[in-house]
């Protein structure tokens, strides 16, 4: 520890093998079942089956152990190193300056054992990040503290490993947003989801193949169905309608319940705090996660809502940050709140939100018109071909044309952009508006792109380089796009010379 070059290499917790192996075992069990069912001869021979099971489970255990044994990490004076590999050693070094977020996750099993998994997010996107699974909670807090301390005083060396644990993690913090159970359940009511049906369907399909027992045979089902239809016929027409309504209602209830359960599991005891180092978000019932997002890494905000919840004024805010390209580690900072609760969070990240006095501009109607014309032509052609081939339902594609028209019109109506006081707002969405708001100074490049159709009809798309996200405005006329680009670039240039440009980015 006294070595100024950093501390001795360590391994993750041996106990951490339990959660990681369990995950592997779940898959192994499926493999065993699949093998057993796939080859009847094996399933009839108990000894062979046990051997195979032991082999599969044993190899999973051995692999996990070797992986653990050969993985070492080291907290150095100016980087964190991770060495992995049995035969070919791979050493990765991540300098503290490149670490953007340190997130701590506690999946259920690990949590019971007092372990956490620590991810150092570098913005390299998913694969190249260092993940330590699993270390003790104290070690997780210590690693986070070390990284923070290093980020604060990057020049200073030594004492890197000697950072006192836990106490450094306690910082004065201010709660920006929190959701109690009532709010989370309320949120869940809007998160209608029929994913359960899909899961059940998929599982049945799997089991269908795997378990050729009698209850899955056609006879079983035909019998069952015959009885049902018989009863139904007995009940008469009204009862059939009643049955249909009952089915629809139960589907609805199932969807709502699923939504509530999923939301409570994910967002239980949601709290967002403003700490010295950035925004800290904790949430989750069984799998509790703890994510810190440095303020200056926030590139833009996405304000979204839903078709129904919009009627009640519920919105959500998400950050776009350097460290979340295409990764599931979402930066939902306010999942479900009224606008006046969102405003302070956005202000803390210096992201402006569109207000009533925002001057929205609409894009040109032409791209949508063109797209609709193509759709209509394709649908008409399909309808004609079907009519000639005498396919039943041939007018269906023709009926779809007005639907496509309405959707296109709605989509166009939703689109808008505004440039106000150095903030670029882009509104998209079909059923409910989604507004992306980015300070122009955070944009990386500005491109005007024009495809073949745009060349004929004079419209272009403005595509902005945004770290960790997308920002595009479709269907601008060329002059508008040029003017907008000028004002964005002017904003960037102004900042480069006069305003502080987030010092930590440059280091």
């Amino acid at each position: 520890m006294s070595d100024p070059r950093g501390e001795a290499p360590r391994r993750t917790e041996l106990l951490g093998l339990v959660p990681s192996v369990t995950k592997g075992l779940a898959q192994a069990v499926f493999a065993v079942i699949a093998v057993a069912v796939g080859a009847r001869e094996i399933s009839s021979n108990a000894f062979l089956m046990v051997t195979i099971a032991v082999l599969i489970v044993g190899s999973a255990l051995a692999a996990a152990f070797v992986r653990w044994w050969r993985t070492e990490y080291r907290v150095g004076a100016d980087d964190i190193r991770l060495e992995t590999g049995l035969l070919s050693r791979e050493a990765r070094s991540v300098p503290y300056e490149r670490i953007q977020d340190v997130s701590i996750a506690e999946p259920l099993l690990a949590r019971l054992l007092g372990l956490v998994s620590v991810t150092f997010e570098t913005g390299a996107g998913g694969k190249d990040e260092i993940e330590l699974a699993y270390v003790t909670r104290a070690e997780g807090e210590r690693l986070r503290a070390v990284v923070r301390r290093q980020r604060e005083t990057p020049v200073e060396t030594g004492a890197a490993g000697a950072v006192a644990p836990a106490d450094a993690a306690e910082e004065p913090s201010e709660t920006l947003f929190a959701m109690d159970l009532g709010r989370v359940v309320h949120f869940g009511l809007f998160e209608f989801s029929l994913v359960v049906l899909g899961v059940i369907g998929a599982a049945l399909q799997q089991l269908d193949f795997l378990l050729p027992f009698d209850i899955w045979s056609a006879d079983f089902w035909t019998d069952l169905f015959a009885v049902q239809t018989d009863t139904l016929r007995h009940w008469g027409f009204a009862a059939q309608i009643f049955g249909a309504v009952l089915a629809a209602v139960s589907l609805l209830v199932l969807g709502v319940v699923t939504g509530v359960v999923r939301t409570v599991l994910r967002d239980y005891d949601f709290r967002l705090e403003r700490t010295e180092r950035g925004f800290r978000r904790r949430r989750g019932l069984l799998n509790r996660t703890d994510v810190v997002m440095p303020v200056h890494r926030v590139q833009a905000g996405v304000l979204a809502t839903g078709l129904v919840r919009r009627r009640f004024g519920w919105h959500s805010l998400k950050f776009v940050s350097l460290a979340n390209d295409a990764k599931s580690a979402s930066h939902d900072v306010v999942p479900f709140a009224q606008p006046d609760e969102i405003a302070p969070v956005a202000r803390a990240a210096s992201i402006a939100l569109p207000g009533p006095d925002t001057r929205w501009h609409r894009p040109s109607r032409r791209p949508w018109t063109d797209s609709f014309v193509f759709f209509a032509a394709a649908l008409t052609a399909a309808g004609m071909v079907m009519a000639i081939a005498d396919v039943p339902w041939w007018p269906a594609p023709l009926v779809a044309i007005p639907v496509a028209g309405v959707l296109h019109a709605l989509h166009w109506l939703r689109h808008g952009w505004a440039m106000d006081d150095g903030q670029l707002f882009v509104r998209t969405g079909l059923l409910a508006p989604v507004v992306t708001s980015a300070p122009a100074i955070k944009l990386q490049s500005v491109e005007i792109a024009r495809g073949p159709l745009g060349r004929l009809r004079g419209y272009v798309a403005l595509k902005c380089g945004l770290a960790g996200g997308r920002l595009e405005i479709d269907g601008l006329m060329h002059d508008t796009a040029e003017a907008l680009r000028q004002s964005i670039l002017a904003e960037i240039a102004r900042v480069d010379f006069s305003r502080l440009n987030t010092p930590a980015v440059k280091r």
Binding site: Q444, G465, R470, E482, R485
Partner: protein, 156 residues
């Protein structure tokens, strides 16, 4: 500033594109001639389309692509323009450049050319390439951009 005249790329870039086109065109022509000599198909069925494609690769496409490429180096930004059917007009402020590459492929090296690549942190357009620069030009542009970044970092 955006009305700046675009600078054309070095004419050798056209040659480079033609040579790259030749990698497609020559095998195509050879195959066409061989099939023509074997005479399995009626005269001209193979060689005419092959010749047209070869002509496109060797002549028309490089000429047109060259005509529509250009760049403008302003005090604090680089603008790169390319494409006719799919037109792209990109501006990268130097203040947003993360690192700079100067790349030389085999064909480019033969002709003394380089490609300058600017990398930004953006997810869209994370690298903007400007091909067809003379070696010396590419290097001096790199120095200009680099010094701009250094100056700015020190200024903060």
């Amino acid at each position: 500033m955006m009305t700046d005249e675009l600078t054309q790329l070095h004419p050798s870039h056209r040659t480079a594109m033609m040579i790259e086109g030749a990698f497609v065109a020559v095998p195509l022509l050879v195959a066409g001639i061989v099939l023509e000599i074997v005479g399995l198909l009626p005269t001209g069925v193979v060689i005419v389309p092959a010749a047209l494609v070869a002509l496109w690769c060797l002549g028309w496409a490089p000429m047109r692509r060259y005509r529509h490429k250009g760049f403008a180096l302003a005090e604090d930004r680089l603008r790169v323009v390319k494409g006719w059917l799919f037109h792209r007009d990109t501006v990268v402020p130097f203040g947003r450049v993360q690192h700079i590459d100067v790349i030389r492929g085999p064909v480019e090296r033969m002709l003394g050319l380089s490609t300058l690549v600017l990398h930004t942190a953006g997810s869209h357009n994370s690298s903007v390439a400007l091909p067809g620069l003379l070696d010396s030009d590419a290097q001096s542009m790199r120095e200009v951009i680099r010094s701009h970044i250094t100056r700015e970092t020190e200024g903060v």
